[in-house]
Symmetry: C2
Subunit: 425 residues, 2 copies
């Protein structure tokens, strides 16, 4: 399962909370395995998940009846699914053929649909907490995933329970990834690399940023992921950190292309960056790239458990300055990644986060220079017991693309395979 | 522009508000034209947009400095961009060639980057409201797009201003679409239709739901849109309303396939549904489909300005019952669509929304029968001065796919072209 349950329960006990009620889509999926699509794609659906601080406390999901099919079809690690609101599903009308076994999802769904229907999300939470054995004391609730009105309704429906904000707490729980999470992050990362390579294959003068984007997105969906982050900038437009691929900006020989990209694979995010060089690029571009590359390579040498986020920041920024960009300044040199794009740890000058084995992070040294270009190397890496393991296979250096339209020049053989454990595309 | 400014200002004046402060990504884009990618793809970035109730009041965007590049690169319809927080961009180091004109986005970005930097989103809002001429009175704020702590900080930073919840208000403003919005919705709809057709082309026995999904997604990104809603279910799995395409469920002759799908094109959503029949399907399936089809076709006959949402609901459900499903029950027969998937009007038994010209809605009559299948016809339509205009070109009937793997049998010629006004794929 995705959830690191011993970690959650240790942190809950340290906090004095009887459990955690997740309200953000990311934490609901993490605590329960339940991915309620409507909660992810539009504003409004109320879906919650709960885990207790000890084995004597129950766990549950609260969801709308019309969303409960996915709770039956997916693999959940909670005791109960509680539903609220009316939704109409017609029971089986035709008798089944005697040889037909009922699929497991249907059995589970019928169980959910025939259980009590609550009037509102808040009333369902109240009933679910009671069944889980929580009738008093304090629990954490993610206030950033719920509107003020819904939060007030939950408080009113559970007068014996004290709800305390767990926004930062749940991010801390999710900071150490389980093997199941690392496997998904590894796949998301590999798919992003393959998509950069696909975008560069056959790149030719006169193409637009949008043309590169289309090859990128096509590879991402072919590999079973979904496009999320797709900043692809040519030449001086690549100095915009969030550059939105344009149909007008055209590639010409001597330009660099910045990719800051990553999709979502089985709900987990990728976020990586590389720079491609189209034909011969100016010496100033190669110098700037070498400096940001040196920063990342130094990070990979020093990352280990116990290192503070702010120490890593200082060391990496120092190297970039010494390696060719003395004026280099940054707010951060990376961040955790998982179900959300920015997770714990923060790698900032003031971060109090300390690296621990199992953290998966993006390490990055972006440099944006007006009138020139943006340069960035960003790797996804995992902190191990003794140091760091990269999830990447693309080289750090400028990805040289011949101006003839031939494929980029580097060993692409690792990219030919999806990571072991990925479903075949 | 996307914004219907006269409508916004009329509704603001009726409410007695001096302006609307948008906090949800959808309304920020609508009020200002500003699509701040990080606000759409992860939790945390604070981006707001404001429009006043009259021409004497200024309009603005508030955004993080690190997100301000997109405000410079995009076409905005606000007076000012106010930024908060530090972000490092290196000024031009090399002198420009004398012949090089500075691109417009760079001029605008430098203007933003050299304007005052505020310490926090709340302080930026306070300064921006003052510059816009709002120093007292009441304004609306979307409470559902902002955390409790940020909301409290804004209130504290603007002691003279009364902030009232505008969650429902902003949805009402967005209910009547402008021509620019209708054009995007039309394209999103056509792309979803083309993607259904692509998924069905070459469908053959033994394929999984996931195989169909991949052809669907590939067409969506090839047409310049992004997958969002992609429920594709085969046989009895199609009775799950939110069916998540499975790698295990295989297509066999005699089954139906339900598509409830739609991507995002230039930030606007599609949501349509059709049923395909693979070879000869049972008479019960054809009967169920004919009933839900009759409901939609009746809706298209009666939709006109002045019709209440609940009247439409009653009429459509009544027809489905009389046309072959006497036990049919539903919570709604459709909803508005735009930047979000569910907008005003609601087509429910208790809806007080009344249809007006310029509303774009999904009309749908889903029917889910356990042990059999799900049946659904869902069209995107626009209310006109005199009635209704469909945005669709797929026929309503069962899309018959020969079991030989040949293309589905209907006139697909309208699908061969993207809608006029769409950028070429």
């Amino acid at each position: 399962m995705l959830l690191n349950k011993p970690r959650l329960q240790n942190l809950l006990r340290a906090k004095g909370w009887l459990g955690l009620l997740a309200t953000t889509p990311e934490s609901v999926t993490y605590l329960s395995g339940y991915w309620a699509m409507p909660q992810w794609i539009r504003r409004g659906p109320q879906v919650y998940a709960f885990q207790g601080a000890d084995s004597g406390t129950g766990s549950f999901v609260v969801t709308g009846t019309g969303l409960s099919d996915q709770a039956a079809d997916q693999t959940l690690w909670v005791d109960d699914v509680h539903r609220y609101g009316e939704f109409f599903v017609t029971p089986q009308l035709e008798p089944a053929n005697s040889g037909d076994a009922m699929p497991a999802w249907r059995t589970r769904w019928v169980d959910i649909l025939t259980a009590a229907q609550h009037d509102s999300p808040a009333k369902a939470v109240a009933a679910a907490l009671q069944k889980a054995g929580v009738t008093g004391g304090a629990i954490g609730i993610e206030e950033d995933g719920i509107g003020a009105a819904q939060l007030a309704a939950i408080r009113a429906a559970c007068p014996g329970v004290r709800f305390e904000d767990a926004g930062d707490f749940s991010k801390r729980v999710r900071a150490i990834k389980t093997p199941a999470e690392i496997s998904r992050l590894r796949s998301a990362c590999r798919i992003a690399e393959r998509s950069i390579y696909a975008a560069l294959q056959g790149a030719h003068a006169g193409e637009s940023e949008y043309d590169l984007l289309r090859r990128f997105n096509t590879q991402t969906v072919a590999d079973g992921a979904y496009p999320v982050l797709y900043c692809i900038g040519i030449g001086e437009r690549s100095a915009m950190p969030n550059v939105d691929p344009s149909r007008k900006q055209r590639l010409s020989v001597g330009q660099t292309v910045r990719f800051d990209v990553g999709g979502r694979f089985e709900h987990y995010r990728a976020d990586i960056a590389r720079i491609a060089a189209f034909g011969d690029v100016p010496a100033a571009s190669r110098r700037a790239h070498a400096a940001v590359q040196a920063g990342i390579e130094h990070a990979l040498e020093i990352i280990r458990p116990g290192l503070a986020g702010r120490e890593l920041f200082d060391a990496v920024v120092g190297i970039v300055r010494r390696a060719g960009l003395p004026h280099y300044q940054r707010n951060h040199v990376g961040h955790g990644i998982g179900l959300d794009g920015y997770e714990v740890p923060a790698l900032t000058p003031t971060s109090i986060d300390v690296l621990e084995p199992g953290m998966v992070m993006c390490i990055e040294t972006p440099y944006y220079e007006l009138g020139h270009a943006g340069f960035q190397v960003e790797d996804m890496v995992m902190v191990t017991e003794t140091g760091v393991q990269s999830l990447m296979s693309l080289p750090h250096r400028l990805l040289d693309c011949p101006a003839t339209g031939s494929p980029p020049v580097f060993d692409e053989s690792p990219l030919q395979v999806l990571v072991a454990g990925s479903p075949a595309p």
